[in-house]
Symmetry: C2
Subunit: 536 residues, 2 copies
């Protein structure tokens, strides 16, 4: 990713009206706000800061503000737009919160990431004929020209492609080497096996199978998931109690409907934990009191102290630390759940990827009346399949089925049946074994690269999963106190990583979350090398 | 479907503890409420009627209360349960509203339909081992043991498998001949073409295509849908403004989020219109003031009089009447939308199925800034695919993309790409031509059968679509004033049809909605014959 080499003034932002791909461009002679093509008369009454933040996001998405470019100083932009400086400050604050920009001290406010670019519409596209030209429709997350519903504007644009797949559709700017966590080796997707299974499924279907199905999912997949969870996660579940959903994101959304209907306004969250999860819960109107995590897992005493009636956990492998919830904490959690009637949402996002021994059984296996368990194939096969499952305490099952029915009438039937075929034929387990071997090589490559190229780093959570967390020893941390700045600098060198601070709610030392499963060993070594050079 | 031949007393309900499939069974010697295995101590505080209604629904779903069986008299059940008679009356009222039971005068309260049965879990199912036995988990729509969120209990269980695909996952009891509206000929699903397209798609995919995608849908499908709508519906749309969704049900759900966020609490509905749509809007917290439909379409003067800021319409072919919105009404509607800032939600559910001439262009084609247009492949290919599209006025697009992202991060990629391939290769248009020929034969068969076997019926909406609406001439209507009773009697003879009264909000003469597309000519003729015998 190129970095704008503009002047040191606030006017260094490139203007690239040609629709180019965010190249450097010459310093614009025009006013600092020109790139935004702003007209405050378009702004809605009472929402200037929102509106401004949105315009800037859009400019970032369109490549008019490439990563590395500086935003105008607040007083400069305020003067040019004829608005108060507070409006601009507030807009910048929102952009900082959602990860678009970062303060760089004397360096000003700098664009640190953009939503994934998309190709410009084809000139000869017949479907464009007669429609309005859409210069403002370039941003995936927010293409409209007016404000969305209340609250929409302060949602982060940043995906956390990890602990669950919440928000993962939005990714940061493309990078030469992408070490974001949360993806399995996508090149290994079993295309031939998938197609064979689909052929078998299509040959066996009755016409009525093409009609409206059971909103809970096809019986075949619910049975297959039940057996899969029994074999792999120690969970005994009646297939009748399995709800097939469109990934963990939807599972959380359905649970949020249930919780809100019960008057629940808080879901405690591990700290650190996935930014994406937090954003999703906030979007659903739920506060997320943070609960510290230590070497034994989540601190149940601290959970109790929050008074929250529900908690979202990653017990098998805490995201992003990799800590396994130990026996004593499990017992304490069971005590909390049964005495206080607390609900645990168990996000079992990558437990199957364990390299040393079988994974610990899911919490759900021992607390079926208190745990809503969510899993998906996003880390087993591919996020693009959008298939997951939700097992709720039986008292909530009916309400969740209702919510799923109203959401979309149930997942599509064909992919469910193909997946069931792969699960029941042993094809999915074979694929998982294959993935584990590949992932293990990549993990070892990353650990070795960190040992040799990033010696100040401390590795966490290497026994399982698709990513490592690193923190820094005291000397390195003192040199690199700001992990967002480190991630930004890495992105400018073409290497994408996630700063630990994205995933924390309370103050925390610097760190990084580094995915290895989806990158080749060569890229992993080179990417870690770049980090080593930056940390120095 | 067998009918219970129990005694004339309130104790005629069969008890079928063997888990049989809802056969007749002998009159139970036990108390009337035995079949429910009720323990009022399980009931939640303050929700007895809800709870009782749910228990009865469950018993219906499990086959313990077969269609045709009578519920205990309210005073008998109240005495046995030790609750007030008002509780039982209220529970029965809810069951009546959602279509499970119907009052039969001196015949008492009779079960008239059940949700689709599903196979009992296999005895040897390993996934069942160790889980709790699930005698109460038998109902697809409501398997939990405790009340769902507020409002859930009064949602109808009845699917309206029509105008949109809302709620269609829940169907009434299976019938020998199913003339419910809303399904195309599912036996004609182009399995071979689908598999060929999927092979081509899989061969061409990049690994990153298996990752998290654009929440708006794959660019390939958005382009293909844009061209499809240009060719078939007269709509010019930038592919950037197309949002791929999981069917019309999801489109409505996303729109409801938008509307609620804007403070809108009412969406006017045509009367008659789909029961499923109405239930969906009610679930979303939106009231649905009814607007009459006449031979020219929806009465725009009456719409204006409601004061509602939004209206849901089926302009190309009004459901269920089949009326096409005429030019004068379109102009009046445009005037309403532009002057009052009204939003039209256009449900274009089956416009492609027209037998006499090309369908009228969508309303969206002339009012892009005021129409949110929803379509799907449910009537073109199969509901089980769960793919549809939503084109919103540009000012709403960003908020809807946000809502889609939070809902499920976007539709699954593979089926989108396969569908795009079928659309762009001409395969879908070929399939549609093939379907039209088959459907036309079936329609003609139904019209002829009605002419000869149901001479008191008046046919509406025969020029297009997948169903007919029939009303009755004065003499026949006088003999058959209650169309729900007629549908119930037909179901007892193995023929499923929908009474017009399901789809009306204001008083209306009797009628039926009869789907023909998914049934063979033989079944159509026989089914109409049964109706003819019942009408007499």
């Amino acid at each position: 990713m190129n970095r704008s080499n503009g002047s040191p003034s606030g006017r260094s932002i490139t203007r690239d009206g040609s629709g180019g791909s965010g190249g450097t461009g010459a310093p614009a002679p025009a006013a600092a706000s020109d790139f935004l093509q702003l007209n405050t008369a378009d702004a809605p009454r009472g929402g200037l800061a929102d509106w401004l933040a949105r315009q800037i996001r859009r400019a970032v998405a369109r490549g008019l503000l490439p990563v590395g470019s500086r935003l105008p100083a607040t007083r400069v932009l305020a003067a040019e737009l004829g608005v108060s400086r507070g409006v601009v400050t507030e807009a910048y604050r929102r952009l900082t919160e959602d990860g678009h920009v970062a303060g760089r001290g004397r360096g000003g406010t700098v664009v640190v990431a953009a939503p994934l670019g998309r190709p410009a519409p084809e000139a000869g596209d017949s479907s464009r004929a007669g429609s309005e030209p859409g210069p403002l429709s370039g941003e995936p997350g927010r293409a409209g020209g007016e404000p969305g519903p209340a609250g929409a504007a302060d949602r982060g644009l940043f995906a956390d492609p990890d602990a669950t797949d919440v928000f993962d559709a939005l990714r940061a700017a493309p990078a030469r080497i992408d070490l974001s966590p949360g993806l399995p080796d996508l090149a290994a997707f079993p295309r031939a096996a998938w197609l064979r299974a689909e052929r078998a499924v299509l040959a066996a279907l009755a016409p009525s199978d093409f009609g409206y199905g059971d909103p809970r999912g096809t019986p075949a997949l619910r049975r297959a998931v039940g057996r899969w969870l029994a074999r792999n996660r120690g969970i005994a579940v009646d297939p009748e109690d399995v709800l097939i959903v469109a990934g963990t994101a939807q599972a959380l959304g359905l649970l949020a409907i249930l919780l809100r209907a019960e008057g629940i306004t808080e879901v405690a969250l591990e700290d650190p934990s996935s930014l994406g999860l937090r954003q999703h819960l906030h979007n659903a109107g739920l506060a997320t009191p943070p609960v510290p995590v230590d070497a034994h897992g989540v601190r149940v005493d601290a959970l109790r102290a929050t008074g929250a009636p529900a908690v979202l956990l990653t017990p098998a492998r805490q995201f992003p630390t990799g800590v396994v919830l130990d026996g004593a904490r499990r017992r304490a959690l069971a005590d909390w759940a049964t005495r206080e009637g607390g609900l645990v949402i168990e996000d079992d996002y990558d437990a199957e990827h364990r390299y040393d021994r079988p994974p610990v059984p899911a919490l759900r296996s021992t607390l079926p009346d208190h745990v809503a368990y969510a899993g998906s194939v996003s880390k087993l096969l591919a996020p693009a399949l959008r298939v997951g499952w939700l097992l709720a305490p039986r008292r909530h099952h009916g309400a969740l089925v209702d919510a799923k029915r109203f959401a979309d009438l149930g997942n599509a039937a064909l992919p469910q049946l193909v997946l069931a075929h792969l699960m029941e034929s042993g094809g999915l387990e074979r694929h998982l074994r294959f993935l584990r071997r590949r992932h293990r090589v990549r993990r070892d490559t990353m650990i070795e690269a960190i040992r040799t190229r990033l010696p100040g780093a401390v590795v966490h959570g290497a026994a399982a999963g698709l990513h490592l967390m690193v923190t820094f020893d005291a000397a390195t941390a003192a040199r690199t106190p700001d992990d967002t700045a480190l991630a930004t600098a890495a992105l400018e060198r073409g290497v994408k990583v996630q700063p630990l601070s994205w995933h924390t709610q309370r103050p925390h030392g610097p760190g990084l979350v580094l995915g290895y499963a989806a990158s080749t060993p060569t890229d992993i070594a080179e990417g870690v090398g770049v980090l080593g050079e930056l940390v120095g």
